[in-house]
């Protein structure tokens, strides 16, 4: 569904992303992992049209969308959420979600109905009339997801929707994402919470210092020395193996 090829981006002298390639098949949940500063969010901003890549291409359902504006890309059915949540703080939860719903429902009545429906499906039924600014961090993360879903986009790029949540909240959102996927959506998700990635993603990519260092099932990845090194530092893989043998 999504094909990213050799995407690169530099900020000044810093190569934030170099030659990143990844594929997201329709109906799957694909993870994008990597330590802080690896370039994951930068990948998303390029894929979703917020910054132009220096080189490389992005194709959505076979159509080249490299460099298109975010609103065009959203109209084509792909949407990103923000790692640092971006609610419309002065609006209620329902109004927030309705902004997404307006994309394909031009009448206020319909957009509001869709917003309430999406809100309820994501377990925000009792929060609909609250101002978004009154939500907890978990609520705001869920609102990001709800708004994105309300646009009708089929491919959702989630940027750390589970960061900062407690385990029960994580379990809830994992259930919700799985349910949304079963309803016909596809996910590419950046995640730090390993437990969540392990239970959700069929495959995952690992980015380190802007370079894609591994791709495989989450199970394989945690045993991959290169991945362990990236997360735990140089020599960590070897030390772990020595511990295992000891």
């Amino acid at each position: 569904m999504l094909e990213v090829e050799n995407l690169s981006k530099s900020f000044g002298g810093l190569k934030a992303v170099s030659n990143a390639t990844l594929q997201v098949p329709e109906g799957s949940i694909v993870g994008l992992l990597g330590p802080n500063g690896a370039g994951k969010t930068t990948c998303f901003t390029m894929i979703a049209g917020f910054t132009k890549p220096d080189s490389g291409s992005v194709r959505l359902r076979g159509k080249d969308i490299t460099g298109l504006a975010p609103h065009h890309i959203c109209n084509l059915g792909m949407i990103r959420t923000f790692q640092i949540v971006q609610p419309f703080a002065g609006l209620t939860v329902e109004e927030n979600i309705a902004v997404g719903a307006y994309l394909h429902h031009h009448e206020r009545k319909e957009a509001m109905a869709v917003a309430r429906d999406v809100g309820k499906r994501l377990g925000m039924g009792t929060l609909l009339d609250r101002p978004a600014s009154a939500l907890t961090i978990a609520g705001r993360k869920r609102l990001e997801l709800a708004r994105a879903l309300a646009t009708g986009a089929k491919l959702l790029l989630l940027d750390e929707v589970m960061a900062g949540l407690i385990p029960t909240e994580i379990n809830e959102i994992v259930g919700i994402i799985r349910q949304i996927r079963d309803e016909g959506h596809t996910f590419l998700m950046i995640e730090h919470v390993m437990q969540a990635v392990m239970s959700l993603a069929e495959t995952a990519y690992v980015l380190n210092q802007g370079v894609m260092i591994a791709h495989g099932t989450p199970r394989d990845l945690v045993r991959d020395p290169a991945v362990v090194e990236a997360y735990l530092g140089h020599g960590a893989a070897q030390r772990l193996q020595e511990d295992d043998h000891a």
Binding site: C74, P87, V99, Y102, D129, P131, R147
Partner: protein
Amino acid sequence: MMKLNSTGQVVLILVAVAYLLGVYFISSPVWMGFTINALIVAVLALSWNVTGGFGGLSSFGHAVLYGTGAYTSAILQVTYGVNAWVALVAGIAMAAAVGGFIGALAFRYGVKGSYFALVTLAFAEVFRICAASFDFAGGGSGLQLKLAPGISNIQFADRTVLYTFLLAIVVLVMLLTAWIKYSRFGAYLVAVRENEDAARALGIDTYRIKVLAMAVSGAFGGLAGVLYLQLWLFIDSSIAYGSSVSIEALIGPIIGGAGTVWGPVLGTLGLHLIGEGAKTLLSNAPGLNFVLYAVVLICALRFMPNGLVGLAGRIGPFAKKESKDA
């Protein structure tokens, strides 16, 4: 269509309605004359409210829209003998075009916040200087319409008829404002105000929305300028494009409640009442009303960030949430 959230807001609106209707019965030419002026400014305030209130695009140069409406209509009537109604429509259209043009230029280059305020101010000043310099715009001596009372010339010999006409226009512009507020366009405009990045991610062409808002605001502002012209039959560059016009445009909505339907009208009426009161008390010191406006504005910003409507929204049994509905 209008969702009121508190007794405070209902009372506030009822007082305003009672005042506006009361003007018919007081039969004081001073009151009526003063309220007539306030109604024209209210239309201008509703114009600023579209961009500054809903869109968070604070202009400091709305005189450019007001003046363009007034000058377009005046030039067409004086120089080309065009009918006043046709000139009114042309004035509105030209102001909408100028608004859209300024928006297209400013937003193309990502101008935001106080820079946008400065850009609009610069445009108003450029237009003012042009109007004062070019002969076809009357130059330094301005433009004078011929006195010719009659509906077909939008000139009313009877003040009560004039007042009713202006009241109807204010109601019409308020209805249009309510329509914007509860439309997709309005929701998108508010989304742009609240968080432009999130708006873009959600499929909104924020550039188009902002330019459109400037055009709509231009139409309302141009209308206000034409109304001024039809009332006084005279404009010059500082009346039409002066910075006092731009100040009047923004102060009413800020005091009344920006991004609401009633706020700009309530704020403008309240402000003019205070200004008029001070004038009579302090025997017409020139410019005093602006000093007073500044004081009121500072107090409003300090004590009621959501304006009169926001303040009233916190009074009464339904006043649960901080809401801008009214």
